[in-house]
Symmetry: C2
Subunit: 180 residues, 2 copies
């Protein structure tokens, strides 16, 4: 193996480690690999290039890239004179990391809050019923209390995602240990 090959080899291993890592953050292996590949390539890539480099079908590349766009960690870019679609990834991996969970978490939180609003309404109505036993009434109140506490929790998660998205996190956990 000559020098150049060795360098390429290190690069490949590095991409594989990025893949592994993103995997730990809940991203599928293929997405991690495509991201790492484009990132290390420094330039936007086409589906065919990705397919050749990674050794997977073009169709799969198309699927993966679309998922990535939905997740907000890749985008299609235009280049004059190039017919094939070109895809680029966010270069700031801190941002990528943040995107990864904020979008998922926010969606989940939103769903939950809507849903629990409905549950509360249901329980409120139930509470109006004339023929409730003491125990029923106690159960309903406990449940209402519980649900309200969870709504606070969901709101906390929402605020945590904002804390990250706004970049405030970096004031308290700076990127480098010694300071910029």
């Amino acid at each position: 193996m000559n020098h150049e090959e060795k360098i390429e080899d290190v690069k490949a291993q590095f991409v594989e480690k990025i893949t592994d890592n993103m995997n730990a953050f809940g991203v599928s292996t293929s997405i991690g690999r495509v991201l790492g590949t484009i990132y290390m390539h420094r330039e936007p890539m086409t589906l065919d290039e990705l397919s050749a480099e990674i050794g997977m079908s073009k169709t799969r590349m198309s699927q993966v890239v679309r998922e990535m766009i939905d997740m907000n960690i890749a985008e299609r870019v235009f280049k004059k004179g190039v017919r094939k679609d070109l895809y680029q990834v966010e270069e700031d991996y801190y941002e990528t990391f943040i995107s990864l969970f904020t979008s998922t978490w926010q969606k989940a939180v939103k769903r939950s809050r809507n849903f629990e609003h409905r549950l509360i309404k249901k329980l409120d109505k139930l509470q109006q019923q004339p023929d409730l036993t003491e125990e029923d009434e106690r159960d309903i109140n406990d449940l209402l209390e519980e649900i309200k506490e969870w709504m606070d929790y969901y709101d906390w998660i929402r605020r945590v995602t904002e804390f990250f998205e706004s970049g405030e996190i970096f004031e308290h956990v700076p990127k480098k240990r010694g300071g910029e």
Copy 2:
């Protein structure tokens, strides 16, 4: 449907929402459901109770509970006179939420850092070689720089998990909006 049944129904829907949510945080559906079920039951539960309540095989319950213990979101508790194993979940769901990602992230970060240390050594050795072209040399330096930046990034993630685990996050994103 009488009142009691309606209350049970709301409870079940609530558990299902907890399940959904944990799912968004990367936890398998069954784990979420077991957690929600024990949580809403207020008391530690046995495998047989879980199996009956959730409608899944006891074997599966055993597997799920073990996973949860590994993840640090459940524990076996002892109760005098009870022969079956009893399992309890963390009641503070903020803590559960934090446990969920800190352990995974920390493990991934540790793996990456070890690995990249080895890559750096490899590159350092390569850099000593006498017959390098200019371009080889430049490539090696770029790669070394890149890897070092990623090591900072991994360290940042480690510090973020500490920020959560230590509870510092609550100083900046308090549990309730108005303050305690």
